[in-house]
Symmetry: D3
Amino acid sequence: MTKNKIDKFGEERERLNQLVKKYAGVNSQRFLNIDWQVYKEGALDAKTKELMGLVSSLVLRCDDCIMYHLIRCREESVTDEELEETVAIGLIVGGSITIPHIRRIWDAWENMKQNNDI
Amino acid sequence: MTKNKIDKFGEERERLNQLVKKYAGVNSQRFLNIDWQVYKEGALDAKTKELMGLVSSLVLRCDDCIMYHLIRCREESVTDEELEETVAIGLIVGGSITIPHIRRIWDAWENMKQNNDI
Amino acid sequence: MTKNKIDKFGEERERLNQLVKKYAGVNSQRFLNIDWQVYKEGALDAKTKELMGLVSSLVLRCDDCIMYHLIRCREESVTDEELEETVAIGLIVGGSITIPHIRRIWDAWENMKQNNDI
Amino acid sequence: MTKNKIDKFGEERERLNQLVKKYAGVNSQRFLNIDWQVYKEGALDAKTKELMGLVSSLVLRCDDCIMYHLIRCREESVTDEELEETVAIGLIVGGSITIPHIRRIWDAWENMKQNNDI
Amino acid sequence: MTKNKIDKFGEERERLNQLVKKYAGVNSQRFLNIDWQVYKEGALDAKTKELMGLVSSLVLRCDDCIMYHLIRCREESVTDEELEETVAIGLIVGGSITIPHIRRIWDAWENMKQNNDI
Amino acid sequence: MTKNKIDKFGEERERLNQLVKKYAGVNSQRFLNIDWQVYKEGALDAKTKELMGLVSSLVLRCDDCIMYHLIRCREESVTDEELEETVAIGLIVGGSITIPHIRRIWDAWENMKQNNDI
């Protein structure tokens, strides 16, 4: 994922989030707020939480969720080795059905690194 | 989703359904027939059933299924508020992993309304 | 499910909910609060929302969630026919993998009716 | 699973199926009929179809469905090696999350063989 | 799927697999090796195993996995009837939520046949 | 989960694992070996990996897998707060459908602590 693609991913995400907020009732709004809070540093640091968000998204096989946490992982300075061990757990737990998503993880990661995007 | 996009979604769906029917054996044909019958008005009205089809598709995270039921919801005159409460149930039951699909729901719904498509 | 079993289901659920609350941080507490609010009457009535909760739980195949919503459905005076049409949508959407859960739905429903439990 | 347990599994299954049929509307009845037909010998033989039913049930992690197809596999004279290769595909596709179900498969299979149950 | 599309699918798959291997640790590498071995002829022939891989991918709803096994099914000379019966089992087990994937199966299959691709 | 229950869980698990190994072919054996290796300390420490195993098991809703990782978490001296934040991520990602499993997590955790089991 080149810088351009990450920017586009972020912009489209922001555009759609505005739409979601426009229609969201009070319960949905509260959920969206918690969804943000839960990854903030607490007893566990933010990096560990992002890796957890990533592995959860991987075993549930949600590309958009994976990409969001992958960008956050890079912001949290996750190393290649840490990412690989996280992906390996997702692969073993979730099976070969996760492989297409793992391909897209490394493709995006490689591009982020080549472009020193974040 | 503009009128054009809805039309294209419907046309592609129809083209592929013809292919499915071409290859379908008797059991598959019977299933496809039931799949149609089960949403018809009975003890519950058609609108309620479409909302059930939508929330089921949302928690199972199937975009094509969601889009089909969303178009049907609009045909059944579902209001913004009814759609929001249905989506909120799907969000709470299915978790943040459903959010990317919810973004696409509101994007399509907004477009349907702006174009007064159905 | 006899009255005795429903009572036990409710008591064990209550006991465990106390434990969950004991350990729950602020985000979990907020989630549990929304989880309650989202089924309250709004643009859609409570019965429709419970049927949605039931069909979502059925396609996701969670027995505890199914049983909770089934008890609530009976409290909301859902008829046999309404329940059957809801179950049929879950069966068609979710496939034969839902059948073991449907067996348990009707077993519990039959018992609730025989004992005029709620 | 001893002969006694298999008998009980079958009897309870039959009792609940009667309940399902009692409440089933026409669409549910039709589905239950197809669910039977689809495993009958056709272009593919019955044994292959039962192995497919088993691997599908394994990756979807439904114990009741697994046990039903396992009994049918034994009726179709599936060998240890054929069962192992089927289970291995389910394990690789579905990941370690399938292991608890695989444990129960071999426990039941071992008992079926020891008691020469079917 | 025309020959061109199959080629592109294969080439992109190969490009990404190279990336996966570049980053893969020893555990991931071992998994990828098993993922290949498990479909090789043994007590069950390769065709039967590919059909199992297909039906597993269908009920788990993974398009990339489906497409890989579909191409392999054609290489193993699976007939229309065998494919249809396999798809029908996936449809009944997994429900209507699998239909969008089944549409894409027949679209790809039709194209493979028209172009005598493999 | 009292000490007695944890012991029984471990013993039954061990008994069944012996059965799995008895029938396992070379691919299954290799998988089971990787499944062990992947949680060993590397770039990430063992505690972090067990928390990842737990959150993955929670969003995939596998009680046996959850219980195994919960016991391992206690062995790795996970604190109440660390467990709560991990569970909260699973709850938000996976939705209310995970709540029955979260109830069982805290019930087991409370018992482990009261009995100072590990």
